[in-house]
């Protein structure tokens, strides 16, 4: 865990202790789950247990909330989140085939993460970029007017960047050794 994550986790624990003394600790639940996901990228079971015990909210209720909201991830996510817009405009312009291409290229179903941990594939409702439909969003970046080839090219750019980064780190490590 990075320094930044440890600090954030500490802040969550303090927020939970404050919420615990509120007349309605459950009203803080969603906010705290957001913060947990911010640190881990998903909701680890141990953290849900900790939230349940600290806020004195039955674990089943937390599970109900965590599974209800599309936003919460229940499994670890990849380094990059690929969200394909399935809104009406994108759908009409071929989003389904973009999604099929991604499923095939990444070898995963919607909601799942590639075995190398690089990508998590998700569906999104309207991303608000209907003018350049069909679109997908990778992390915070929007890519529009997609077809199968363009989609694969974009994915490959991320793969290339990750590989370069890896070899750079590797080279550095090798140089560092006597």
């Amino acid at each position: 865990m990075t320094q930044n994550q440890t600090e954030k986790l500490q802040a969550i624990r303090e927020a939970m202790l404050a919420a615990r003394n509120d007349a309605h600790p459950e009203s803080h639940l969603i906010g705290i789950l957001h913060k947990v996901q911010d640190v881990f990228g998903y909701l680890p079971r141990e953290m849900m247990d900790e939230v349940a015990q600290t806020l004195e909210i039955p674990t089943a209720h937390i599970w109900g909330v965590a599974t209800f909201y599309h936003y919460f991830n229940l499994e670890p996510i990849g380094r990059h989140v690929v969200s394909v817009c399935m809104g009406t405009a994108c759908y009409v312009k071929g989003a389904a085939s973009v999604l099929e291409t991604l499923k095939k290229e990444l070898g995963v179903e919607v909601g799942k993460t590639t075995s190398d941990g690089l990508f998590t594939l998700q569906e999104a409702r309207c991303l608000g970029a209907c003018g350049i439909a069909p679109v997908m969003m990778i992390d915070e970046k929007i890519y529009g007017q997609l077809d199968s080839k363009k989609t694969v090219d974009i994915i490959n750019q991320y793969r290339k960047a990750a590989a370069e980064e890896k070899s750079a780190v590797g080279a550095e490590t090798r140089r560092g050794k006597p």
């Binding site: 459950e26 849900m48 015990q53 909210i57 039955p58 089943a60 937390i62 599309h70």
Partner: protein, 596 residues
């Protein structure tokens, strides 16, 4: 009384109380609006929309379970358009439900089936995608079958609001919604206490007890086994309902005769070991009282409460009596004392218990209760399963000639009989403890303060000038609030009885399903079942456990005395903290009052 208001139902005006829902007002006026997710003891869900009615001036139909009456309101409950809308709602539920009524365990007892029939649905119009899930068979006691679930949420509310176990939730969303424990944990690994109340309130077969009837039929046909059965007090007070009889009939003799006809060699009565439990429990209480042991002492008869204790209240384990439940004591005595007396190899004994309870299935499998490498009870069947077996074997329980139980584990006192009603164990214990402590016989043995369906009951009795303060809770939610008082003030009570189910064992998770025109866990029904046991007590000449001649003989010939080393070996057990840890929200623990 508040001022009456005028409403119109189906063109006729009525004067009704304000501050109630349309459904409540209609019920009192004799209009039974169809319903599914509604249960009077649970919060209003308004999920199923079956109870819709027309209210003049409203754009849409309203759910009568959730909509309050107001002055001048014009309501229609049975227009053609409403009938069509209701029928469509049920048809859509049916569309997402397996089409296997004739092989389903709830066939003939299913609220959805009854509704479909009453709506006149005679064909399936909608054929769409249907949810498909595996059954969860992990628990010893309670099976979860999400395919049968129609998401009415009664089980979730029962588990959270009445039992306060909070094991269940509606997880995921829309078409993918499933009732499950946290993390989709198997029921057997969850905080489920196995009380079976989810089964009682489920309108379909989404929750069922783990069924042992086929295995039992097979073993009853095994000539190498000596088949011994015991049956709990409250089974006799409820089994008649499964045969269409009115609630509250004591079917003891008919049940004994029927069990013999099923193939049991010996039919014993769990009331015998209820007397035995009182001997041990009352002695343990007096020992704690006199030697400065941990008080208040809490009873340990209810297996759902025992599992709840280990997960939710591990800090109170030292307070709980070490006595096994009557069922487990009976099992132990059957395979030791009885086996020796009859010169039977205990390993050839098939020890069966007919229980009002699903948690007893879990209890019978607890490794802590084993002795000499054996289980005391091999198979537990619920009242429902026993009723089915009796019918299936072509035995006419209603008209059969009543019979007496076998000896030496069949005679019981009136104190043993009332174990089945909330407060009964406390009353039975008081009858014996008083005499053991003071050396005098308690004259007024009917302890009214601990009878009835109030959630938490308190009382006191004076023994040789010493005031003994007692409390009784039934249903785990009431138990929770009572135990919170104990945590805050451990000296408030000396002795506490806790039963896991509403009404005590008479409201157990294994009792017959609600009959047509009745609702699960109806208070009137629970009262009638309890009354059957109190009447049984009244009719007995022996009304105190220590006066049971067969119990006295058992001590003389085998156990020596209460709390003796032999008693400890076979009749006592221990508890330990278990995971997952149960969590009860703070505001529910500190609720004042004593709701049912």
């Amino acid at each position: 009384m508040s001022r009456l208001i005028t409403i119109t139902i189906n063109d006729k005006p009525y004067q009704v109380e304000p501050n109630q829902t349309i459904m409540q007002a209609a019920d009192k006026l004799g209009f039974h609006i169809p319903r599914l997710c509604y249960h009077p003891k649970l919060s209003i869900e308004g999920a199923c929309r079956v109870c819709i009615v027309e209210v003049e001036g409203m754009k849409n139909y309203v759910a009568s379970c959730a909509f309050p009456v107001s002055d001048g309101m014009k309501i229609r409950t049975n227009t053609q358009a409403l009938r069509t809308a209701r029928r469509d709602i049920i048809e859509l539920i049916l569309d997402n439900h397996p089409q296997d009524c004739h092989t389903c365990e709830r066939d003939g007892n299913c609220e959805l089936q009854r509704l479909a029939a009453s709506m006149g649905i005679r064909a399936r119009h909608f054929e769409g995608e249907r949810k498909r899930y595996e059954k969860d068979l992990s628990s010893e006691a309670v099976i979860r079958d999400p395919e049968k679930c129609i998401l009415c949420g009664r089980c979730v509310r029962m588990c959270s609001e009445i039992q306060q176990v909070h094991n269940l939730t509606q997880a995921h969303r829309g078409f993918h919604t499933v009732v499950m424990p946290a993390y989709n944990m198997p029921m057997g690994e969850s905080v489920c206490t196995a009380c079976g109340q989810c089964i009682n309130v489920c309108p379909t077969a989404a929750f069922l007890e783990k069924n042992y009837t086929q295995e039992l039929f097979e073993k009853l046909n095994d000539p190498n086994l000596v088949k011994v059965v015991q049956f709990a007090p409250s089974v006799r007070a409820a089994i008649g309902e499964a045969f269409g009889l009115e609630p509250g009939l004591n079917m003891e003799g008919q049940l004994i005769a029927s069990l013999r006809k099923l193939g049991f060699d010996y039919v014993f009565d769990t009331q015998f070991s209820a007397d035995l439990t009182i001997m041990e429990e009352a002695s343990e209480f007096l020992e704690r009282l006199q030697s400065g042991g941990v008080l208040p002492m809490i009873t340990s008869c209810s297996s759902a409460w025992m599992k709840c204790l280990e997960q939710f209240y591990p800090d109170l384990i030292p307070n709980v009596s070490t006595c096994k439940s009557p069922m487990s004591m009976q099992g132990a005595i059957t395979k030791t004392y009885f086996a020796k007396k009859k010169k039977i190899d205990p390993r050839k004994i098939l020890s069966v218990a007919v229980m009002c309870c699903t948690a007893k299935k879990y209890e019978a499998a607890r490794p802590e209760l084993m002795f000499d490498g054996m289980r005391g009870v091999d198979i537990v069947v619920t009242t429902r399963e026993a009723a089915w077996m009796i019918k299936s074997a072509g035995i006419d329980l209603v008209n059969i000639q009543p019979e007496e139980p076998d000896h030496p584990l069949g005679i019981s006192s009136g104190a043993g009989a009332i174990f089945g009603a909330t407060g009964g164990v406390m009353e039975a214990a008081i009858r014996t403890a008083y005499e053991l402590y003071t050396g005098e016989t308690l004259v007024d043995i009917e302890v009214e303060a601990v009878r009835g369906l109030k959630g938490i009951k308190e009382g006191s009795i004076t023994m040789d000038g010493k005031e003994i303060r007692v409390a009784v809770a039934h249903g785990l939610g009431n138990a929770c609030r009572l135990l919170e008082r104990v945590r805050q003030d451990p000296s408030r009570y000396h002795f506490i009885e806790i039963m896991g189910c509403p009404g005590g064992c008479v409201g157990g998770g294994g009792q017959p399903y609600a009959q047509i025109n009745s609702i699960p866990l109806d208070d009137e029904n629970l009262r009638k079942r309890a009354q059957a046991l109190y009447d049984l007590d009244k009719a007995k000449t022996i009304r105190r456990s220590h006066d049971n001649p067969d119990v006295q003989k058992l001590y003389k010939e085998f156990l020596q005395s209460p709390l003796s080393p032999v008693s400890h070996q076979y009749l006592h057990t221990h508890y330990k903290a278990k995971t997952p840890v149960g969590i009860i929200p703070r505001n529910e623990r500190t609720l004042s009052g004593d709701s049912k």
